[in-house]
Symmetry: C2
Subunit: 218 residues, 2 copies
DNA sequence: ACCTGAACACCGTTCAAGT
DNA sequence: ACCTGAACACCGTTCAAGT
């Protein structure tokens, strides 16, 4: 995923893979690996440097500080999420309610499959996030997938009239809340199957409010 | 809030307020003060000790580790939240939909008024949380306020039939998502007034799914 | 242009020792 | 029973110095 420019700084020998060139991308990749591995918030710049065999000060040549690294990680997460949401919406372009249910479940599944990554995406403070416009733009792009589904649903007469932004916000909050609560095991649901069933039940309850009368039972 | 037993270990002179006795409560109170003050995750055991004029090892006589302190802080947060939810539900005992809307807004307002505290409440990892049964019980108690409103609404014919647990989960996820997204400014709403309007609009959308036909417009 | 090493001011946690 | 002081293994960040 996310194509990488391989034009210059050719990698000749395998003796020293990093140390010059490519360190920025290596840091990002290693950060994802650390997050994918596990439990704690053990993602530290020093550990990334250690894993990559560079000095602990080297990352500062590519990221202003730890927040900048986290912002890049979060941005990549939003890009990945956007791709998954679009893929989930693709199969039924004519059925907005089906698209809402499918993208909703995929949103929650993303949070459950990448819990640490999801935490980084939504764990940054407001002031910190404001310093990274690319990150905000990436987050907005994910939201717009949902928004466009709502708008198309309204044009097709499947979704109640009203400010699309509010309806999308309501739907987003619904699945975001499910994602957060399931991620922390605040809600009990073991495995993807139980989670998906719960999520779809909740989405259905919510959709009875979004759908025009009689269309809720599709 | 939260009465404190003042029976024994009387405080005579003001020369040394702590240093023996009461340190546990002082640590919790100071932790809340630090969280209320501001921005970062600057809540450290060493800083609490520094503020209270004790050595950095003293807290370990009262809390096994930092997680234990955070669990106690989170538990107090859930107790406070439960009290606020019950107060919000009290004025209209006969109108479950009104109770859902009011408790929903209060839930979000709590998150916005105590953002750091809210973060501690919901930021602990699942495995960590499992080690503190009192914390889980306090969280469950908050959820049960919502659950009981749903159940009473069903008995009164205001809320659709169905598993109350699922309906309460859906409603909880809705407001929890709004709380998280507004807290991080992922959603734009300046001030309590704009936030309350947004929250009530979303809750209304959701309620159209919860309410029996025709009762959604009250 | 990119990286290193030492340094500074922090952490959480432990443990012998004090009262 | 409760607290202290030194110690250990970590952090993020900076900065002169190296190549």
């Amino acid at each position: 995923m996310l194509s990488v420019s391989t034009s210059n700084s050719g990698v000749r020998g395998a003796t020293r893979p990093y140390h010059h060139g490519r360190l920025r991308q290596a840091l990002l990749a290693e950060a994802l690996a650390v997050l994918a591995e596990g439990e704690p918030s053990s993602l530290s710049l020093r550990e990334l440097a250690r894993r990559l065999g560079v000095s602990h000060a080297a990352p500062y040549r590519h990221f202003a500080d730890k927040d900048a690294l986290l912002a890049a990680v979060a941005q990549q997460g939003f890009e990945l999420l956007t791709a998954e949401l679009e893929a989930a919406a693709a199969p039924h372009p004519q059925d907005a309610l089906r698209q809402l249910a499918d993208t909703g479940w995929i949103y929650v599944r993303f949070a459950l499959h990448h819990p640490q990554h999801f935490q980084v995406m939504f764990g940054m403070s407001a002031v910190t996030q404001a310093a990274f416009p690319d990150l905000r733009a990436a987050g907005l792009r994910a939201f717009e997938v949902l928004l466009h589904v709502i708008e198309r649903g309204q044009r097709a007469g499947q979704v109640v009239p009203g400010e699309p932004y509010d309806l999308a916000t309501s739907a987003w909050a619904q699945v975001h809340g499910l994602a957060m609560l399931l991620r922390e095991r605040q809600l009990a649901a073991d495995g993807d199957l139980a989670s998906e069933a719960l999520v779809r039940r909740c989405i259905q309850i919510h959709h009875a409010g979004l759908a025009v009368m009689g269309a809720a039972h599709t």
